[in-house]
Symmetry: none
DNA sequence: CATGAATGAGTGTTCATTCAT
DNA sequence: GATGAATGAACACTCATTCAT
C-alpha cells in the first residue's frame, strides 16, 4: 500500500505519477517495467518514489488491486448500469460495456488482463492469484445463480462456467476485437484513435454472434 | 536460424543445449530468460552459443518456429492420428490429444501458448505475430470448410470461429485443466507428476462438456 | 550536543527517542545505524531529529559521551558501591558489577565497548578516541596508585596496566561470558533472558579465576 | 569461492585486484567496503568482478578464509620458525612473530582481527563465527596440552585459557603496540613507516613484561 | 571452431540532510 | 517548534554481446 506521503501529494502531481505508472506497467510485464523510467519521466527524484511506496511490488500491487478497480468503477458509474432481465441479456450488456471500457481505457484493460495471464514471477504471483481467485469466485456465483434460476443448463459445472466467462470469453472477444482493429493490444494502447475503425455496429454484431453462441451452448435453447 | 555449426554438433551436445533452452524459455518470458544460465548449465562457453545462433532472438525464434513444432509433430506421430467423421468428433479427438500433449510436455505446451499471449517486446513481436497468423489462418480454413459442409451454422464468421478455437477454447481448457490440477502452468512444469491427480475420466468429462457446449452453440444442434 | 529543543521535550517523548537511539546504535555500527529507522519507530517527523541534534554524529556523540555514562552511573548508584580494601578485592568487586551491568543492560554495554573497538570512520573517530583516552588515563592512574601503594609490582608500566584493564581484561571477560551464554553480544541483546543460563556461581567462579590470574601475574603474589 | 576465471587471470592483474580488495576490506567494515571502489581503482569494469566472484560476500569470505591465511603462512615460512622448549618460551617467540607480522602487514592483521570483533551483520556472521571457532579450538588444545604437561596450573580452564590467548592477549598487545606507535590500527595502515618509531627493544620489553605477567598468572611460578 | 574475459548500461533500493510550510 | 516531501549519490548486482586468442 502507498504511504501517507503519497496521498498528501498535490492532486496533479499524484495523478501524473499514477498515470505514468499505469503506462509503464501496462506496456511491459512487471520485471521489465522500470521505476527509473517512471521517475525520470515524472521529473522527480529516484528516491521520491520510495517516499510513496515501499518498493516496486508495492506500487504494482496497489495499481492492480486498488487503483485499477477504482478507475474501472468510476468509468462504469458514469454510464447507465447495464440492464437485463435474464442472464443472456445482462451478459450481452456487460460484454458491451466491457469492450467499450477496453477501447476507452486500453491500459487499464491491459493491466486487468495481465492478472489473468500465467506468470512465474514470485514477486507478483501472489497478487495475481489473489485477484484471479476473487474474479473466479464471483463468476462462479453468477453462473450458479443462473443455473438455479433455470436460465442455464442444470448439468453445467459452475466452475467451468466461470472458466468460460473469465478465460475463454474474455480471450475470444479480445482476440476478435483487436483482430478487427488490425492491431495488437499493445499497438492499440499507443494509438487508441484506431477505435474509430471499429464501427459500433461491427461491435454489436460481434457480441451478438458470441452471445448467440453461448445462448445455444450454455442454455441449450433451440435454434431460432 | 541456427548457423551450420549448430547442426554439425554431436547429437547429444546439441540435444542438451536444446533441452536447456526449452527449459529456460518455457520458465520465463523472453526478456528474463538468460543465455548465461543456458550456457552455464550446458557447460559450454559463453561465446559458443554465438557460434550456433546469431543472438538470443535467433535462438528463441528457431525454438518456437522450428524445434517446438518438430517435437510436437514427433509426439503426435507416435499416437494414433485422431480420427473423426464429423467436425465435432474430430474436434473432440484433437482436444483430447492436445490436452494429453500438454500434460506430457508442459514446457513445449507453454512455449506454444506464449506465442498467443500478447507481448510488447519488439525483439519477439514479429516471431509471435507470424506464428499466430499462421495458426489463425489454418483454423479459419478448418472452420470455413466445416461451414461449407454444413456442419456449422452458415452464418458463423470463420475468423470468429478461429478466434474461438485458437483463443477462447485454448484458454478455457487450460484454465479448467490447471484448476482441476490445483496448480498453475508454471507450477505444473516443475512437478508434472501431478497429472495423476487428474483422472482420465475427469478429462473426458471436461472435454465432453465443452464440446457439447460448442456443438449446441456452433452448430445449433438441438439439445439431446 | 543536543539543542535546547531536545531538553524542552516532554519527558516521555524524549525518553522514547533516546531509547530507540540506544537500540539502533547498539545494534549496528555507526554507519549502518539509520536515523530514518529511529524517527519512524519513534513516530516523529524526519526533520524533528534535526531540531534536536545537529546531525547523526551529534546524536551518536551525545549518546556515547553523556547519556550512556549517565545511565551507567544511575544503575551503579542503585547498587551498593563496590567495596574493597586492596586493589584486587576492589577489582573483583568491580568486575562483578561490570558483568552484571552488561547482563542487565546489554545495549549500554555494547555502546561502551564500541568505543574501544578500532574504527576508521572519520565521523566518529574523534569521539571514540576522546572517550578511549579518558578511560585509559583513569585506568593508568588507578594502576599507578596501586603500584605506589606497593600492591602491584613496582616494575609494572602503568600504561600497560591500563591496556590490560581496559582492553585485555574486558575482552577476556566478554568472550568468556558470551561463550558461556552460548551467544554473541548481539544475539544476547535481543534475547536477554538467556542470562538465566549463566548461574551466579558460574560468574563468580569465572571472575575468581581471572582475578587469581591477575593477582599472581600483576602482583607477583605467591601461589596459595 | 572465486570462479575459475579468477585464477586464469594474468598473475599481475589478479594480484592487483587482490591487493585492492585487501585494502578496501581492511579499511572499512564489510558493509561500508565497496566493490565499486575496488573495480574503479583496479581499472576494470563493474561486471568483471562478478566474473571472478559470486558476490561481495564471496570475495570477502575467500579473502578471510583462504587468501589471508595463505599470505600469513607465506610470510611466516620466510622467517625462522619460532622455537621454544616450554610453553612460555614458545608463546614469547610467537608473540614476537605475531607483532612483527602485524607491523609488516597491518592490513592482513586487521582482516584477521576483524573476524574476532563482534558483528551483527548476517552476511558475514557465519564466516566470522567459523573462523573464530577454529581459532578458539586450536588455542584450547594448546592450553590443554600445556596443562597436561604441567606447564600451566592444573586448575586452569582450557576454554578460559583460549579466551585469554585469542581475546585478551591479542587485544592487550594490539592496544599497547599502537599506543606506543601513537596511532590507531587504521592510521598505521596508511603510514606503516611509523614502525620505525617503535624500537625493537621497546617491543622486546613489552612482550617480556606481558609474558612475565602470564608466567606468574598462568603457571603460578614464583616471582624471580 | 571453441573459448571465456571484458564490457557498461541498466536495475531496485537506501539514507542523511535540507527547507518551505 | 514540528512537519514531511524532496533530493541525489551511492550501493550490489545482471546480462547480452564482443573479440582476441
Amino acid at each position: 500500500m502507498p504511504k501517507e506521503t503519497f496521498f498528501n501529494l498535490p492532486e496533479d502531481k499524484r495523478e501524473r505519477i499514477v498515470q505514468l505508472a499505469i503506462e509503464e506497467f501496462s506496456e511491459r510485464p512487471y520485471r521489465q517495467a522500470s521505476l527509473s523510467r517512471i521517475v525520470s519521466r515524472a521529473g522527480i527524484a529516484k528516491g521520491s518514489i520510495y517516499q510513496y511506496f515501499d518498493n516496486k511490488a508495492d506500487l504494482y500491487g496497489w495499481l492492480l488491486t486498488e487503483e485499477t478497480p477504482r478507475r474501472k468503477l468510476a468509468w462504469f458509474a458514469e454510464k447507465a448500469p447495464p440492464e437485463g432481465k435474464d442472464f443472456f441479456s445482462l451478459l450481452e450488456a456487460q460484454l458491451h460495456a466491457g469492450l467499450r471500457f477496453g477501447l476507452a481505457n486500453p491500459r487499464l484493460a491491459r493491466l486487468g488482463d495481465m492478472v489473468l495471464e500465467p506468470t512465474n514471477d514470485p514477486e507478483v504471483r501472489e497478487i495475481h492469484e489473489r485477484l484471479q481467485q476473487a474474479g473466479q469466485e464471483m463468476m462462479r456465483a453468477v453462473v450458479a445463480a443462473a443455473v438455479a434460476r433455470g436460465e442455464l443448463r442444470a448439468e453445467l459445472d459452475p466452475e467451468l462456467g466461470a472458466d468460460l466467462l473469465m478465460g475463454g470469453l474474455r480471450e475470444l472477444l479480445n482476440r476478435a476485437m483487436y483482430r478487427k482493429l488490425g492491431v495488437s493490444t499493445y499497438a492499440y494502447m499507443s494509438d487508441p484513435d484506431r477505435a474509430d475503425r471499429l464501427s459500433a455496429c461491427d461491435l454489436d454484431q460481434m457480441i451478438r454472434e458470441v452471445v448467440q453462441l453461448l445462448r445455444l451452448g450454455l442454455a441449450g435453447e433451440e435454434r431460432p
